[in-house]
């Protein structure tokens, strides 16, 4: 008889690790992509749009499959499955977060850029000290949604042979046939975890909120 708790714990840790890494690395990369799309010129813009279309337009399971099997086979190298998991979730999230950051930057861009230039700052300085601090504040609520969405997508890791929280539940159900208890417990864990993180995001949003820089959604 399998002991369900270590399985659930390991699965939960995998879900947490992959989703947190995905959402933070995705924000960093998404910001770079947003700025590249806005200021990188036509070539980069087309490249970045292609990237976004690929990651938004295909199921994450297929993306994991491509990165674990297809690309290494074609290019003849080996890669660790967990590393692929982390990477693909970050790349996937970046494609979405690029859109949020770009929208926020565009919303505050023109007048603030000119004001920044008018006091003698360079474009880069204005971006770093004026535009991004405002854009990232506006992005927090969307970022929180993205986190929920990623957390619930980690079952896809199963295609790599990695067990997240849901996969752990499936294993337990397969061995114990306690369907209702197991899935109810898992649902509660998801609910508690997502509630905690979104609450933290709300608190950060409130704490960092500045009068005049709010989203009206």
């Amino acid at each position: 008889m399998v002991d369900p708790f270590p399985l659930i714990f390991d699965g939960f840790i995998t879900t947490v690790e992959v989703s947190i890494f995905g959402v933070f690395a995705g924000l960093a990369l998404g910001t770079v992509l947003a700025l590249g799309d806005l200021y990188g010129g036509r070539f980069f813009s087309i490249l970045i749009r292609g990237y976004v279309e690929f990651f938004r337009g295909s199921p994450i399971i297929i993306q994991l499959f491509i990165f674990l099997y297809v690309i290494p086979t074609v290019l003849n190298f080996r890669i660790d499955a967990l590393a692929v998991g982390f990477m693909v979730f970050a790349l996937n999230s970046a494609a979405y977060q690029k859109g949020y950051v770009k929208g926020a930057v565009e919303a505050i861009f023109q007048d603030q850029m000119m004001a920044g230039l008018s006091i003698g700052m360079s474009r880069l300085q204005t971006l770093l000290h004026v535009i991004l601090p405002q854009a990232l504040r506006i992005v927090i609520p969307a970022w929180s949604n993205e986190f929920c969405s990623i957390t619930k997508s980690t079952p896809a890791l199963l295609i790599l042979g990695i067990r997240d929280l849901t996969a752990a539940a499936m294993t337990i159900v397969g061995q114990t046939w306690r369907v209702v208890e197991t899935y109810s417990a898992i649902a509660l864990i998801y609910l508690a975890w997502i509630t905690i993180v979104t609450k933290i995001a709300d608190i950060v949003y409130e704490k960092k909120k500045i009068p005049g820089i709010e989203i009206s959604a």
Partner: protein
């Protein structure tokens, strides 16, 4: 002979669809001068002012700040802009920074002053526009007039060679206009070199050394305020002044 702070020669700026905003304009501003540009909306005044600050790059012609030509290639435009104060019609404060933060930013990031010194100078600039007690407020917590005074403090704090003001009161109601005008009057008394786009005629008459009537991308007429109030030379300026004076009386 007075020192020329800024001059431009044969300046041109055309937007798409052949809209000429600046059409072969030349002018100069000496140290301590206060010049006031006025003219119909859409005539290109804002574009002209932005060209002078190199916030909009002119198509042709030269701009000199002191001896330095800003329109030759290889000029460090950021450094040049740091020596020009610019006040926007729609104010455009940095919304995520307090009043003090708005003024301090350039002192820290552009002039690279030490934190303490930057703070001192920012507070000094806020004192000059009588906004010191609002130092820790964010733009959204201030009235339009207060915001514009912060905008002026932000332009002042670097001790620029010249301050360019693009209709600093036109987005404000008459009451708030008064407080901004008072601030500008203070600056005028201190001998600040200014080029102001404005339609505040009583104010113009009081402080301007020279007025420039700008229409359809050109400076049509130049002269002391009295000339415009009593005997404008060009027909366009005559018509415009008549309308403007009527409107001012109504207010």
């Amino acid at each position: 002979m007075a020192n020329t702070v800024m001059r431009c020669e044969h300046l041109w700026k055309t937007y798409e669809k052949h809209l000429i905003a600046v059409k072969d304009v030349s002018m100069r501003i000496e140290e301590g001068d206060i010049k006031l540009i006025f003219g119909p909306s859409g005539s290109g005044k804002s574009t002209f002012l932005r060209c002078l600050a190199m916030l909009t790059i002119p198509d042709k012609g030269d701009i000199y700040l002191r001896e330095e030509c800003l329109t030759t290639s290889g000029v460090n435009l950021n450094r040049a802009r740091a020596r020009i104060g610019f006040v926007f019609q729609h104010i455009w404060l940095f919304r995520h920074l307090t009043a003090q933060g708005n003024v301090e930013l350039a002192l820290r990031r552009v002039l690279k002053l030490h934190k303490e010194e930057a703070r001192e100078r920012a507070l000094q600039a806020l004192r000059e526009v009588r906004m010191e007690e609002w130092a820790h407020h964010y733009p959204a917590q201030l009235s339009g007039g207060q915001q514009q005074r912060i905008g002026i403090a932000r332009a002042l704090a670097r001790n620029p060679d010249i301050i360019l003001l693009d209709e600093p009161t036109s987005a404000l109601d008459p009451e708030l206009t008064g407080e901004v005008i008072d601030t500008l009057r203070d600056l005028a008394k201190k001998g600040t070199t200014m080029l102001i786009v404005s339609h505040e005629m009583p104010f113009a008459r009081e402080i301007a050394d020279e007025m420039l009537f700008y229409d359809a991308g050109k400076i049509v007429e130049t002269g002391p305020p009295e000339q415009f109030f009593t005997n404008p030379q060009s027909e366009r300026a005559q018509k415009f002044m008549t309308r403007l004076i009527k409107r001012t009386r109504k207010e």
